[in-house]
């Protein structure tokens, strides 16, 4: 039953990702992207990665998509026709996409060959609680405490950067 659900959701992911590209209206594209992210959330739940599912649902579907919409509104969407890309740009896009495909396929193949007989990967597969919020909290606050605290500095710098870039100084107005 699980595998058929996976195939259904995978089909929906691919379908809505294609719709993101092919939709003419940019706002429709964003809405299809939200649906794509929702299917990713279901994928995470099927993989038992519950914390990632929650993060994907709240941060990506909720917050990041609002940012995407805002970026769309900051752009000028009055132009009906998009400028047609030159042949060179199209060719570069095709080559880059093919390279990504080769890298993904190669890395997946490397994982599948190294997984046999490697004890660490088998441990990962066997530990069913690996993706739960409780387990992740234990690991995060014990083994990965320093990266966690450093991430707060990263968020702080992002805040300061956003305010510096977007806030106009008061002296300029008067």
């Amino acid at each position: 039953m699980n595998i058929s659900v996976f195939y259904l959701i995978a089909f929906l992911s691919v379908f809505f990702s294609l719709m993101v590209i092919f939709a003419k209206n940019p706002v429709h594209s964003v809405i299809y992207l939200i649906i794509t992210f929702f299917t990713f959330t279901i994928h995470y739940i099927l993989l038992n990665a519950q914390f990632l599912a929650i993060v994907n649902f709240i941060v990506y579907m909720g917050a990041i998509m609002v940012l995407f919409l805002f970026v769309l509104m900051l752009l000028n969407l009055n132009k009906e026709t998009e400028p047609v890309k030159s042949l060179l740009v199209k060719l570069a896009g095709v080559i880059a996409g093919m390279c990504l495909l080769v890298v993904l396929a190669g890395s997946l193949k490397a994982i599948s060959t190294s997984a046999k007989g490697n004890p660490s990967t088998q441990e990962v597969v066997q530990n069913l609680d690996l993706g739960t919020v409780k387990y992740l909290g234990k690991v995060l606050f014990a083994d990965f405490l320093l990266p966690f605290e450093v991430s707060s500095i990263l968020l702080l710098s992002a805040m300061v950067g956003a305010v510096l870039l977007a806030k106009r100084e008061k002296t300029e107005i008067s």
Binding site: V71, S152, L155
Partner: protein, 123 residues
């Protein structure tokens, strides 16, 4: 109480979502189907508080909205980090509390900076 850890436990949530979305879509579909339609030019114009439609809605808007949104995302990420901490709150004890306070203190500095810079004021 041990945390449930299986994809099957999410089935009720999926059902609830299906019912919610199904109700909305079904209601809209049925009202379109059974309601009478008399389309006139006045009925089809966009209406907002009785004000006449002026210009185009697709205009670039102020960066202030974006600033509020991006600050919201940053604090949203902060709250996300609190879930794994809150679930294990009793086991961590004082040490976990101090670790979390260091994290939140750094972000509180950012919040004070935002307030002092009047980044959220709408002048």
């Amino acid at each position: 109480m041990e945390a449930q850890s299986s994809a099957v436990n999410y089935l009720p949530i999926i059902f609830q979502m299906l019912v919610a979305i199904g109700f909305v879509v079904g209601t809209m579909f049925v009202t379109h189907l059974i309601g009478p339609k008399r389309k006139t030019k006045d009925k089809l114009t966009p209406f907002e508080s009785g004000i006449e439609v002026v210009g185009n809605a697709r205009q670039p808007f102020s960066i202030k909205y974006f600033l509020v949104a991006i600050l919201f995302v940053l604090f949203d990420v902060e709250v996300i980090f609190m879930y794994p901490w809150a679930v294990n709150f009793r086991e961590f004890g004082w040490q976990g509390l101090i670790e979390m306070f260091i994290f939140m203190g750094t972000l509180l500095l950012g919040f004070i900076y935002i307030i002092k810079k009047r980044a959220l004021d709408w002048d």
